[in-house]
Amino acid sequence: MRKAEKISIVKEFPYPHVIIKDFLDENTLDLVIDALAGLEYDFKESDLFSYWASIELTDIDHPAINILREDLGDEVWRKKVAEAFSCKMLSSIDMAAYVYGLGDFLLPHDDQVEERIIAYSLHLTPEITEDMGGSLQIFDVDETNSSKIIDSIIPEYNSLIMFEVSKHSWHQVGEILQDIQRLTVTGWYHG
């Protein structure tokens, strides 16, 4: 079950984003991680990224995944997310699990695809530190398309990061620099 029921103040610069710590209670967290460990992951690689991805979790019927889907996407939470970001009511979510190992990365992109309103990422790697890599880096981009890293968010265990998707929402996942498995459940709230 959800442990966090309140969304802290959304930071507006360089685009609206928020970090919620201790999102799930410990029992749910253990069950979810066990369930994710039992999934198959395919290696995906392009000029933009390198990581391992699960199948879409939206349609999987698994007790722990069902609870997670409710915790991230039930009507009560969607309403809170919409209020926090001052956006219209959110209709649904999609979700998949991703594992980044040594050398994996996701280069700068803005996530813009039709109907994506809020992006989220639930971080599930215990004891991750900055020097391991894998931080979520948030860019401010000027009119010449040059960027500056404004925030480098360490993906702390059981923290949920959300941000508003727009032409400004440039971000990347920094290269993994040590032999770890950076596990996340990631997706979008749709309008």
Partner: protein, 184 residues
């Protein structure tokens, strides 16, 4: 002509290069030790250039700018490829740890001949930084860094190229002269 390795100027070699180039899925040849003497690096003259989501690298004048537009080199290109390329531009490009270019930066490109002269020393494959060429319905072509090699690739409209992200663990930067010739 003194600069080009004499082996690549022999009629038999040129004939072979022409055959290999025109029989490849994506027309391509790679010529190791192309020049008798590689130029010295002058990195201080490079400037950072970024278009986020497209590329992030340093760029400056090609180290061999005059040579790439010389009649001698263009004559060699004609013989090696069977094409009639027209010089468009040349640059020296450097990719440091964290730098990259993405395939879609080429989306508006027309038919062209791309020449890359590699000046990257002491490179490891796991650092990335290799060149990637793609063409619809064809297997992508990966071209690893190799100091002193000249790569020649023919790309049509819709074909894409990029230089793979360079790992933060890389101890050096990738350096290359990158020259584009237009094709009729």
């Amino acid at each position: 002509m003194d600069n080009i390795n004499f082996y690549y100027l022999e009629d038999a070699t040129l004939s072979n290069l022409n055959r290999i180039f025109n029989s490849a899925d994506i027309p391509f040849i790679r010529l190791s030790k192309f020049l008798n003497e590689a130029p010295n690096m002058i990195e201080s003259e490079l400037v950072s250039e970024e278009k986020i989501g497209y590329y992030n690298h340093k760029i400056g004048d090609a180290l061999l700018a005059k040579f790439w537009d010389s009649s001698e080199f263009k004559d060699f290109l004609c013989k090696a490829t069977g094409l009639k390329p027209t010089f468009r531009n040349s640059n020296h490009v450097s990719y440091s740890p964290g730098d990259y270019s993405l395939l879609h930066m080429d989306e508006s490109e027309s038919s062209r001949l791309l020449v890359v002269y590699d000046l990257t020393k002491e490179w490891r494959h796991e650092w990335g930084g290799y060149d990637l060429y793609t063409s619809p319905d064809k297997d992508p072509l990966v071209c690893n860094r190799d100091f002193g090699s000249l790569m020649i690739v023919k790309l049509n409209s819709g074909d894409l190229s990029c230089t793979r992200y360079v790992s933060l663990k890389s101890q050096f930067s990738a350096h290359l002269d990158r020259i584009i010739y237009d094709l009729e």
